[in-house]
Subunit: 250 residues, 2 copies
Amino acid sequence: MADLSGVQALLFDVFGTVVDWHGSVTSELAALGKEHGIDGDWGAFARTWRKGYLENTRRVAQEGPGAAPGNVDVMHRGILEDILATQQWRAFGEKLTADARDALNLAWHRLHGWPDASPGLYALKKETIIATLSNGNVRLLVDMARYADLPWDVVFSAELFESFKPNPKVYLGAVKHLALEPPACAMVAAHIYDLRAAAALGLRTVYVRRAGEEPPDVGEVRSKADGGEVDVVVDSFTELAALLARRGRS
Amino acid sequence: MADLSGVQALLFDVFGTVVDWHGSVTSELAALGKEHGIDGDWGAFARTWRKGYLENTRRVAQEGPGAAPGNVDVMHRGILEDILATQQWRAFGEKLTADARDALNLAWHRLHGWPDASPGLYALKKETIIATLSNGNVRLLVDMARYADLPWDVVFSAELFESFKPNPKVYLGAVKHLALEPPACAMVAAHIYDLRAAAALGLRTVYVRRAGEEPPDVGEVRSKADGGEVDVVVDSFTELAALLARRGRS
């Protein structure tokens, strides 16, 4: 089997890996647009919103000048303002009061899990500790878990470690609070940048294939057994759970 | 009804409030004693162990000299050494190798919930966010939750805020990460000192009566409605859940 021997805790990236942010936010935008008689490429809106967030967190992770780790809600809200001020979306923006924008901003708290996420996590929880390790803030992760029925043992947010992934202190903070050594923890993510940062610190790595989550320049990610760089590649959490259960019995 | 209107999150003290540390540790000690043919007042041993821990954390909470917030496991282990070195327990200590002491120290990870704890928390989780707010370290709280089936939405440990209760930064750290104001959070504890510290910062308070948890000088704790100082007094989490469910329907 793939080498996850000795792993006692799984640390999950959440956006894209556990929840389908793109599908969820796109459909909330489309519904709101329909309500106001506005049409547009809602998928592109969602991607721009997400991209603004990624740029912000990346800047903070690199500890660039003036990069205070803010609350992700506040960050999302600021990016939303910027998008609604563009020529492309101004007509939509004019329909939305401040209250409506606040409500829309909470779309990020109502993300749907990928179909395998909740059942997969329940199965994985029988095998090991399951934790989030997300750049989302704690409250966001808590709301998401309650909404999508994600039975985390513990919610780690980059916010607790005052930075953002891929800054090492985020990964090492989680490992420390679990009272484990890095090789006893595996990072689970649909993004290779996240797994590379974890592997550089000695954590094990599980890559989950999720449609549309990687930028086009990332090619096929393969396991070490297949000549690649990660420990395990799976298509779902249920597949990962089956793999860990076999480990337990062997 | 008692005034918990607007409360969106419950923060639970864990030792004594959720889990019966005294019964659990006493029975592990008694079993180990029996194995080695040693008899003694195991309840007193457990209380001395717990007292050493409380004295240590209190010193750190007051930020006294040299009071680095250590890992609770390490703290428990040090106190165990001290107890086993006393005349009263030396004969027991002589039976225990370093490995046996390490194993015994983990008794604090195998604490049983009070009978109402797990069903009460499942019921409460339908009404509000449920979080730990404990001086125990994260890993200890995670193990305890897995062992006693405690479905926390989020595990807050004083360790994350680099102090111990009743230091204000522990309570305010949890409130901040939940993105709430203090009056939207209620502290739930079987110890009045904990609730007094929370109330002084504007949090609401729920006192849970648990046998043997208060020092003898603490008299009867009463609710404000009964002329006392806390918002609510209950005998179990299931009683608290029924109370919050009525709030939801009124």
